[in-house]
């Protein structure tokens, strides 16, 4: 049974990674899962300098999921390289570094600082965080802006570049095409869907940031639809995510067109979720006689 997949020339031992921001840099979950078993670890978004993020409350539960407005708190690229990348050195898994910034220059600074880091296999550019006011989300909601930043990053990046798309758009296929035409090696989606929760007792927004990004099983049908539309609009590989809780969810994303899948909020609900998803995918393949996971990619049309 072959679980290996290839994205932008990089081979992964299996198609299961974790969604950026839901797994720290792996350290926190190292006590719960054997990190070596993951196809890749995708790290929390990192910026050129430390970011404080938003005020609390930053997270809240919603029906079938959660809203978050972390606001991309991160220790900055220096500490990330010294501590987090060094930690990941010990593990036999691919590393996808998620990059954030307010301006093109900030993104580029991070990308350049990472260019000599051999431990970094791919870059994932987060142009779709709904929780920071400047830059970030705008790049992900206008095709022309997305093209611009993708081109700028591709010029500097030494590693293959994955553009992470926002679901908060009218036409996901158009965004996918913009990323592809600007040279992206892959796209990943979906980031969170912007939502809001009001506490009717206190008559206040639950999140200090008012809005937050929604994730969890409640968003899965939207995510599957967008992965399907995006993957059929482009020829570059797609990393699919949004509400994956079990192996069959991951299979659904692959059938829709994802070459690789990320487990996000499910990690919070069960710290062993990522490995459980992987094992259930293997069981599915055995049960239905699938010899190569790649057979499933985009198999439903």
């Amino acid at each position: 049974m072959n679980m290996k997949v290839k994205i932008a020339g990089v081979e992964f031992k299996n198609p299961v990674t974790v969604a950026s921001g839901t797994f720290g840099s792996g350290m926190e979950y190292g006590e719960f899962v054997d990190l070596n078993r993951l196809g890749a670890i995708t790290t929390k978004g990192v910026a050129n300098v430390p970011w404080e993020g938003n005020p609390t409350p930053r997270v809240t539960e919603v029906y079938g999921g959660m809203l978050n407005a972390i606001g991309l708190q991160n220790p900055g690229i220096d500490v990330f390289i010294e501590r987090d990348l060094a930690f990941l050195e010990k593990y036999d898994t691919r590393v996808i570094v998620n990059v954030c910034g307010h301006t093109v220059e900030e993104y580029l600074e991070v990308v350049e600082r990472l260019s000599d880091e051999k431990r970094v296999d791919l870059l994932e550019i987060n142009v779709s965080c709904p929780n920071v006011k400047q830059g970030a989300i705008a790049f992900g909601q206008k095709a022309s802006e997305l093209e611009k930043i993708t081109k700028a990053i591709k010029e500097k990046a030494k590693q293959p570049v994955i553009m992470k798309l926002s679901p908060n758009v009218t036409d996901i296929a158009e965004m996918a095409k913009a990323a592809e035409s600007a040279g992206a090696d892959a796209i990943s989606l979906i980031n969170t869907i912007t939502g809001m929760k009001i506490d009717v007792r206190t008559r206040k927004f639950v999140l200090a940031n008012k809005t937050g990004g929604m994730s969890g099983p409640a968003i899965k049908p939207v995510a599957v639809r967008m992965v399907y539309q995006a993957s059929h609009a482009v020829n570059i590989p797609v990393i699919g995510m949004g509400g994956i809780m079990k192996g069959e969810d991951a299979i659904e994303f692959m059938l829709a067109g994802a070459a690789m899948v990320s487990v996000g909020a499910a990690n919070f609900i069960n710290p062993g979720a990522s490995i459980q998803v992987l094992e259930e995918m293997e069981k599915y393949m055995e049960r239905y006689g699938v010899n190569d996971i790649n057979e499933l990619v985009g198999a439903v049309t």
Binding site: P50, R58, P75
Partner: protein, 261 residues
């Protein structure tokens, strides 16, 4: 490897209006400290996230934990319906807990619990008694005569009670009781509502003693990954490199001066 476990319900009872006591049989809580917490999962499709609840007691060869909690919303409501022999998913122990070395060194440590902040004080009193052989003074603050857990402290602590309506003990809160009894702690461990914790911080600063307080924040992961549960810190936090510490990992217990800005 650590993992989320399936715990068996040994006993559940309502202690007083809306406050429940839940005994769970767990695999192994050998290294659990007082002040730590667990994530307990309502197990409903619409309530997927865990609910952080402090350890109230760890007993039975450290294979039995007791949680005492208030029904605050849908998740705790559902948990309150768990019956003997049913099971529930639990993750833990989590967080740092109170530091026994420090507590051991203190001559007159005082424990203060307000409302639903009382439960973690029970295991703390037991631990302090176990390491130091002395029964710490415990100030418990309630709203009214509907006390809960107070009797459980008798073997390991000297209990002083305050009620907001004055129906039992000192009228007022735990700080009022502290003053009324003219107590002079050289260290405070506390858990309770924000105004109480702020008052304790002020007192600790004035008296130049340490106060270890347990904070609450909305949590998603409980293990330090999501950065949802941070609290503002006085100094740059060692992990985050900004003035934010994770309540679930660096806390929930903090020295009061480090937080509550």
């Amino acid at each position: 490897m650590k993992k989320k476990i399936t715990a068996k319900v040994l006993k559940q009872e309502e202690l007083t209006n809306g406050i429940y006591s839940l005994y769970l049989e767990v695999e192994d809580f050998a290294d659990a400290h007082s002040g730590q917490f667990v994530m307990i999962y309502p197990g409903a499709g619409e309530n997927l996230l865990g609910r952080p609840i402090s350890l109230c007691e760890v007993s039975g060869d450290r294979r039995i934990i007791r949680l005492v909690y208030r029904v605050a919303g849908a998740g705790t409501y559902r948990i309150s319906h768990l019956k003997e022999k049913e099971t529930v998913q639990v993750l833990g122990p989590l967080g740092n807990g109170y530091d026994m070395e420090i507590a051991d060194k203190a001559q007159t440590p005082i424990l203060m619990g307000g409302g639903i902040g009382i439960p973690p004080m029970l295991q703390l009193a037991k631990d302090i008694y176990a390491v130091s052989g002395r029964k710490p003074i415990v100030l418990l603050g309630y709203r009214d005569r509907n006390l809960f857990l107070a009797d459980c402290f008798e073997e390991t602590a000297q209990v002083i009670i305050a009620t907001e309506d004055g129906s039992v003990g000192t009228k007022g809160n735990v700080m009022d009781a502290l003053r009324e009894k003219a107590l002079n702690p050289d260290m405070i461990c506390a858990c309770g509502p924000m105004p109480m914790l702020r008052a304790i911080k002020n007192y600790a600063v004035e008296s130049d003693i340490k106060a270890y307080i347990s904070l609450e924040e909305r949590m998603a992961c409980g293990v330090g990954a999501c950065l949802g549960c941070v609290t503002k810190t006085a100094h740059i936090d060692d992990h985050s490199k900004v003035n934010n510490a994770r309540v679930c990992t660096e806390g929930p217990v903090f020295e009061a001066r480090e937080v509550l800005p």
